[in-house]
Structure formats: structure tokens, C-alpha cells
């Protein structure tokens, strides 16, 4: 691990000021915020992340879960994944988020991992994690050996010829379906970014994963109030029953009236280069009877643009069945 300066700022403004001196944006930057450390310390040991300065935000007052005036929820950046999953309001009103959080990692890691850290969790692509290998995400311009190499767990949606790395998060998939907003405090002030605009597709710059700029600190996430009677499910499929990243997952938030789908929000995990909201699946369902045939059509619409690699074609059908089954579970629960 490279040496670094360790700083514990007095408040968020001091944290932002200290981070604003970074040369690059947060992902892979020379200045990094640390909270749980479950991704960052891991990657620092591998010399994938080599910050010269580490800013500990654990003591900042960003650890509250609060109701918002409009009936939604405000979740602080350093709220631990386990606390969020077991929060009574989350369990009652945002069950898909609780389920997604509890499907991720282990109990120990959930006690450490935070809301903002999970949002910025980095890919598990083995080439990204191995500094002996080329990787366009880690070292732009060096190439992507995954495309011709081991790619069984990698993405089929949102890929480019430069990068096919999967976004590994479960939490973010649920937050995409819940239409979360990410609140950022930066050197130029505060701003709110819809989660759909937060992540960047790899394109020719896979090193840039989000719209964050140097000094930007995620302070909290807000969830909108939900329509009454919405049904929610997070379904995750993986190589073992627990403590494993998704091969395919689906987050479903759906409202049904008189047997017809009146509103649907759908996102997929484990198959995309970012948490993958599917407006195609939502459009295919809305206004239609809630039945197995329409669930299958929605699943096919979601994966219409999927592009398989040499080892991961199975993920396309796996994701279709995952989504169709999640819809079935949501509407029969």
C-alpha cells in the first residue's frame, strides 16, 4: 500500500475543501474520502487505488435516516448498510431497498459499508483488480483483456469496446427503481442529481464512472414518497446462496389496479455497466394485465439490446427469467 496523509475534517465544508485539491474526480482520485473502507481499503492493498490523501468522513454528522416533508426519506451518506436495511421505515415503505441491502455482502461488511460508499462501489472485474493486467478503467488506453478473456460475470448491457465491467451493487439497483436522488456538496455549492444521471456509461472513458467532480462529497440520498399500494421485490441470482455478487438481479416497484399494471419501475443488477433502469420493460408493462405472458414480454424488452461476450451469453436469459420471476413474486405477494 502506498503512503498517504490521513485527515479527519471538522465538518463537510472542510472535507470538500481538502478534497477539492484533487487532480481528478472521485473515482480513482489522488484524494479520497473514506467511510466504511470495504471497497477502498481493499483496492488500496492491491495498489488499484493509490490516494496520497485520505479524508475520513466517519465523524461527520451524515449518519441519520429522516423523513422528508414531502413524505419521502433522507438517508445520510454514512448510514451503514445494515442500519438502513433494518430501519423500520425502510422495511415498511421501501422493502425493495431493505431486501437489496440484505442480499449484498455479509453481515460484517454491511456493518461497515455506507450509503455513499455503496453508491461509489467499484467493479469486481478481475482485470481491473490486478495491476499486472491492462485495464482501460484503471489505466486508460491500455486495453480491455476481459473482452477476449475471462468475462463470465461481466456486463451485457451498456458495454463498449473499451470496457465491459459490471457494476456490482445491489443497493443501487433498488435505488434506481425507487428513483433516488443523490445530493452532493462540492466546491461550487450543493446540487441534487437523479440517480439516472449519476452514473456514466463506459464509452471511451471507462475511468470516469460518475458525474462527480474533484471535491464533490455525497452528503445524502433522498427517496420520493411512494404511491400507496405499490408492491416491491428484489430478486438476486448468484453462484452461491449467500455472500456473492449477482449474476443477475431485478428490483421491481409496481402498482396494480383492477388487474392492470398502472405504474412500474424496474431496474436490473449484475448485467449492466451501471445500475440498469429499464424504461423498455416499464413501457412494455404499463397499462397491461399483470400476467405471466406480459411479464415475459417486459423481460424480453429489458434485454433487447444485450450484447453477450464469449462466456456470459447465459446471463441474458438468466436476467429475463429473474425479472419475470420478480414480477410474479411482486404481484402475488
Amino acid at each position: 500500500m502506498h503512503t498517504f496523509d490521513f485527515i479527519r475534517p471538522a465538518d463537510a465544508a472542510a472535507a470538500v475543501a481538502a478534497a477539492a485539491q484533487a487532480k481528478t474526480a472521485q473515482q480513482g482520485a489522488d484524494v479520497r474520502f473514506v467511510a466504511g473502507g470495504t471497497t477502498l481499503v481493499d483496492l488500496m492493498k492491491l495498489n488499484v487505488e493509490t490516494p496520497a490523501r485520505l479524508i475520513d468522513i466517519n465523524r461527520l454528522p451524515l449518519d441519520k435516516v429522516e423523513a422528508t416533508p414531502d413524505g419521502g426519506l433522507k438517508i445520510g451518506a454514512t448510514v451503514r448498510n445494515s442500519d438502513l436495511a433494518h430501519h423500520p421505515t425502510v422495511q415498511r415503505d421501501y422493502a425493495v431497498l431493505s431486501q437489496a441491502l440484505l442480499a449484498g455482502a455479509s453481515a460484517q461488511l454491511r456493518n461497515m459499508a455506507t450509503t455513499a460508499g455503496n453508491l461509489l462501489q467499484r467493479t469486481r472485474c478481475m482485470y481491473f483488480r490486478d495491476t499486472a493486467m491492462p485495464c482501460n478503467k484503471r489505466e486508460p488506453g491500455t486495453g480491455c483483456p476481459a473482452i477476449t478473456g475471462s468475462n463470465r460475470t461481466l456486463a451485457v448491457l451498456g458495454t463498449s469496446e473499451h470496457c465491459i465491467a459490471t457494476n456490482p451493487s445491489d443497493m443501487c439497483v433498488a435505488m434506481a427503481a425507487l428513483e433516488a436522488t443523490i445530493h452532493v456538496q462540492g466546491p461550487k455549492g450543493s446540487r441534487a442529481i437523479p440517480i439516472g444521471d449519476f452514473y456514466l456509461l463506459p464509452g471511451s472513458t471507462p475511468n470516469r464512472e460518475t458525474v462527480l467532480e474533484p471535491g464533490d462529497l455525497v452528503t445524502h440520498v433522498t427517496l420520493p414518497a411512494l404511491r400507496s399500494g405499490s408492491k416491491q421485490v428484489y430478486l438476486k441470482l448468484r453462484d452461491r446462496a449467500s455472500y456473492e455478487f449477482a449474476l443477475a438481479s431485478a428490483a421491481v416497484v409496481i402498482t396494480i389496479a383492477g388487474g392492470n399494471v398502472t405504474h412500474a419501475r424496474i431496474a436490473l443488477g449484475g448485467v449492466g455497466t451501471k445500475p440498469w433502469r429499464s424504461p423498455e420493460a416499464e413501457a412494455a408493462l404499463t397499462g397491461k394485465p399483470a400476467n405471466a405472458a406480459n411479464f415475459r414480454k417486459a423481460a424480453e424488452a429489458a434485454m433487447r439490446d444485450a450484447k453477450p461476450q464469449s462466456e456470459n451469453k447465459f446471463k441474458i436469459e438468466l436476467a429475463r427469467r429473474c425479472l419475470a420471476h420478480a414480477l410474479q413474486l411482486a404481484t402475488t405477494s
Binding site: M1, T3, F4, D5, F6, V34, G36, G37, T38, V41, D42, K45, L54, D56, N58, S82, H86, A105, S106, A107, Q108, L109, N111, M112, A241, S242, Y243
Partner: protein, 212 residues
């Protein structure tokens, strides 16, 4: 062992060999990671001064960790993980290093009463916090009920994962967990046992839950 005629300075047993090389290694590590402790071990009240007078480590940060009920004043390189600090600086070697990447659970300890992977946490992040390791649970004469249950149910073979398993299991007692074995298995999935003692581990945990 004591009666072994071959044991001695020129014919070291495996244990004396390990102890000798271990203390050499520890001396090297202390140069990089100074235990300025002493509140507990030496009983000094001027332990801060003792720490400040120790070997000069570039970039070392002074911290206080309350480990198993005792305060330790330490100076650590910011890169030191909580795991390495416990094992190498404080010499509490009950906590084990398995994968060192948060994938096996052997390093599980409690921070402020909650279980975490000490390998993925930096010691400096825990300044002023309360750490509990396997050494803080029970003693050989008065085992924690979970330690006793692991013995009764044979919840281990080689024992390397056991301290992490027990620290996880003790934390689980205070976490939301369904009554059945499946719920226990799910909440223990962050602790890997290569010997495959899982069935006995679940039985040990269920016995303690039943009795408490």
C-alpha cells in the same frame, strides 16, 4: 515437550523455533508500528510521553484504542489495518488473518459492539473506539457460552477460522435473525470454514440462542 532430550538451543523444537523467529519479526514490526500502550501492560501513567519518545516513525499517528476494556495508547502508520494493529502492535494474536480482503471473516472483531472485518478497516479510523477480540470474550476457566458451545458441538477442525466464527456468532445474538437454521446460515455466510464444520457451528449457535 519438556522431557524431549533433543530440545534445547541447538535442537529447537518447532514451538521454540517459532517463538524465537516470532519475536525477531515482532521487533522489526515494532519499529514501524509502536505500541506506546502501557496503561495496561506497564501500569505507567506517563504512557503518552513514553509513546512520544519511541522510535520516530515518519507519518505515524497517535491513537487510543480501548481493547477488551483496556486503553492502549498507540502510534501507528496510517496504513496499518485494525487487524495488523491488534496482532502485531498489541500482540493479541487470537484474531486471525485469512484472506486479508474481507472475503473470509477470520479477522472478525467487534467495534463498539458490532462485528466488522478488521482487515478492511484502518486502525486510525477507530481512534477512541471500543474493540472486542476473542481474548475479551472469556478465559480458559470461564468460557463465554458461545465458546463453550463450540467446544461441546465440535464446531471446528483446524481452528483457524474459529475466533472469527465465534465473534460473528456472539454478534449475531443481538442482531435481527429468524429462528431457523437457514437464518443463522445466512447471517454466518461471511465466515468461511475450509474444514467444513458448518453444521456443527450452526448447532452450537442454535444451542446458545435456545438457552439465552
Amino acid at each position: 515437550m519438556r522431557d524431549n532430550p533433543h530440545s534445547g538451543p541447538l535442537n529447537p523444537t518447532r514451538r521454540t523455533f517459532l517463538l524465537t523467529t516470532g519475536s525477531t519479526a515482532a521487533a522489526t514490526i515494532i519499529a514501524a508500528c509502536v505500541p506506546a500502550d502501557a496503561n495496561s501492560a506497564a501500569g505507567h501513567s506517563d504512557s503518552t510521553a513514553a509513546g512520544a519518545d519511541g522510535p520516530n516513525i515518519e507519518g505515524a499517528v497517535p491513537i487510543i484504542l480501548r481493547i477488551n476494556g483496556k486503553d492502549y495508547q498507540l502510534r501507528v502508520d496510517p496504513r496499518t489495518t485494525l487487524l495488523d494493529c491488534l496482532r502485531e502492535t498489541v500482540a493479541l494474536t487470537g484474531t486471525k488473518k485469512g484472506c486479508d480482503h474481507g472475503q473470509c471473516g477470520a479477522c472478525t472483531v467487534h467495534v463498539n459492539g458490532r462485528r466488522v472485518n478488521s482487515c478492511l478497516s484502518l486502525a486510525v479510523m477507530h481512534d477512541g473506539e471500543e474493540i472486542t477480540t476473542i481474548e475479551g470474550l472469556g478465559t480458559p476457566d470461564a468460557l463465554h457460552p458461545m465458546q463453550a458451545a463450540f467446544v461441546a458441538h465440535d464446531g471446528y477442525q483446524c481452528g483457524y477460522c474459529t475466533s472469527g466464527q465465534i465473534m460473528s456468532a456472539v454478534a449475531l445474538l443481538k442482531e435481527p435473525c429468524g429462528p431457523d437454521d437457514a437464518a443463522v446460515k445466512e447471517l454466518m455466510s461471511g465466515n468461511i470454514c475450509r474444514c467444513g464444520a458448518y453444521a456443527h457451528i450452526v448447532a452450537a449457535i442454535q444451542q446458545v440462542r435456545k438457552n439465552s
